[in-house]
Symmetry: C2
Subunit: 375 residues, 2 copies
């Protein structure tokens, strides 16, 4: 697959810099929205992937029912374009609670959490602020990261929320991050997940706490969500951009890759390789999937992969290509994991027929980091 | 080793946030400066590790002869405190050259590179700007990343620099990043390196281009530099902070760890672990050393290590401790690779007897990313 796009609008920009193919992102948004419409699911994309108000607008225009956020910063920034936010993360500590309570009153806020220790202060802060915060009980669906482990615990937490001023029990959420295998191997994982979700819905309903929301979905499992009965909404992040991991799992096609890092060849001194100025501080050096060597690959030449990364050096492996670039040549690199590469940027260059425009990533960083008086 | 410091000044700050033990950083700076003074080496610390003007001032006050930078942004920021900068990276493309030529005229700039394609435009831009840029020929000392591979190539590039207006040949540089083994196993690597450096110095001297500067050194090899004859300066970055990798290599002691990420426990729902709010977007998820499991460890309880990282979740493994933290408890985490963790922060909290103060990391990011008219 060669890349036929007109890249000349990128010429004036210094590398390394992130580039967004806006047309591809719009198509990715439409595809997710269409899938959810067909299956009666609410689409609540996770903004952690893009951290951009402009990209959030694309998602909302395509039909997103609201947005998912991970941090107070993301919530604050996204409250400018969305009035229905899910913080899929327990807000622990006075500073985070204070920032959430400072969100515009027009924002309907829901929070996912898995403990009384998280619920109590949140409900109390909400009550004191004259707000009511929606609650989703986070359930461990098999990843073993966070989430209650039994329906009994979910019922206890849901009941506690239902009984508190300031909180309103809305349902459950889970993250099937352990299902990262090709579609053909997801069968047993999806069957297990369906049984687990059914058990939680049943226990809560029996207790008179029927969940209005059952929030699931990740990009690798997105297109299989309709096979898990009871799920009402999905929170995929990556599918707006996709990346080499998602491509390697078979959950997107090459033409769905919307995000790259534009880099310049800076050295060809060592034979058999070319070194570019996108290193781990532009691409992120996460451990690769077992099936994919290296830390990224060229968009236009996927047989050229990033064999090694230092902080400001990316080493392109040329063993499977006859292409021999010169110092100064520019390439676009697809990172393994797009969310962590985006988090390293201050801007993306939005490339469309209209040229290239820098979009600030306002959701990046932590924002105010201090709840007390100025130090 | 328990951590006895008074951490109460950190209480008002929201997590995750980077924390710098200023006393330890000062001691680390003094130790590097002392070593270099004893062995007649110039100490030119690499600011990529800390990206902070305040920390650069600590290094300069301790005796740094100048600073090493990797990006135009770092050069611009550090020109406020240092008038002798080495850009240890080839500046390719008009935007980077333009920014370098815009540095204050009081700055003595030296650049390391390995090709005519990098040298030509740099010399021409310098000539046109009425400047003279020093040149170090980068030599591949065995890492196989960048650098010329033979003394003949080094002589040719040095001669080309010497003959150009705008450039002044100053010497050679190398990065022994392949020597990351414990001191006891470095013998043969250091012997090979000494022979290689000697060969380059000899060839250049024979050609009438005796190098005034032979720039080497990394943190793992720093304290062995005197055993490589001919080296005149070192460019270690990490040794100002140190990290779990450096500790694991035996190149620092636990009490030399100056940088941590302060994090809060957000979930203990899954037995045998605790989840904190420092994930890969605060610690960086680089592949660990073969000898060290996980992605970091607690400063005060090194037997508690970060078993898994998602973007905003760090999973602490509790299998080797009786400690069972509660939601809301705070911990300080030593990352595997400090430079990439620092690059994820906008500030560090400088912790000293005087309390905690936020220092901006002005060198982070790319700064102006556009050499043309505004998009």
């Amino acid at each position: 697959m060669r890349d036929a796009a007109d890249l000349s609008p990128l010429d004036p920009f210094e590398t390394p810099v992130a580039v967004l193919d806006v047309g591809r992102a719009r198509r990715n948004a439409d595809r997710a929205a269409d899938y959810c419409r067909r299956h009666g699911l609410a689409w609540r994309p996770h903004v952690k992937t893009h951290k951009s108000l402009e990209v959030a607008r694309i998602q909302l225009e395509a039909g997103a029912a609201g947005l998912t956020v991970a941090t107070p910063r993301e919530a604050e920034v996204m409250s400018a374009v969305a009035d229905d936010l899910l913080l899929a993360y327990p807000p622990i500590g006075p500073s985070k609670l204070q920032r959430l309570m400072g969100l515009p009153r027009t924002v309907r806020l829901t929070v996912g959490l898995d403990s009384e220790a998280a619920l109590g202060p949140l409900a109390e802060a909400s009550r004191a602020a004259g707000r009511q915060t929606g609650l989703l009980v986070e359930v461990d669906a098999g990843l073993g990261r966070v989430g209650v482990g039994t329906p009994e615990e979910a019922v206890a937490l849901a009941r506690s929320a239902a009984e508190r001023d300031g909180a309103a029990f809305r349902g459950i959420m889970f993250y099937p991050g352990h299902l990262r295998v090709p579609e053909s191997e997801q069968e047993s994982g999806l069957a297990d997940l369906s049984r687990l979700v059914d058990r939680y819905i049943g226990a809560l309903s029996d207790a008179g706490l029927e969940p209005e929301v059952v929030s699931g979905g990740s990009t690798p499992t997105l297109w299989q969500t309709h096979r898990v009965p009871g799920v009402t909404e999905v929170r995929p992040g990556t599918c707006i951009y996709n990346d080499r991991d998602i491509l390697g799992m078979g959950a997107c096609a090459p033409e769905d890759l919307a995000y790259t890092v534009l880099a310049t060849v800076v050295s060809t001194a060592v034979p058999g390789q070319a070194v570019v100025d996108a290193g781990s501080k532009a691409l992120a050096k996460e451990p690769p999937l077992p099936t994919l060597p290296g830390f990224g690959a060229l968009l236009a030449r996927p047989e050229v992969w990033v064999r090694a990364l230092s902080e400001e050096h990316g080493v392109l492996d040329l063993s499977e290509t006859a292409w021999r670039p010169s110092v100064g040549e520019r390439v676009r690199i697809v990172p393994n994991h797009v969310c962590v590469s985006v988090n390293l940027q201050d801007h993306v260059l939005a490339l469309s027929d209209g040229g290239a425009t820098a979009w600030r990533l306002d959701g990046r960083g932590r924002g105010p980091y201090h709840s007390g008086p100025s130090a």
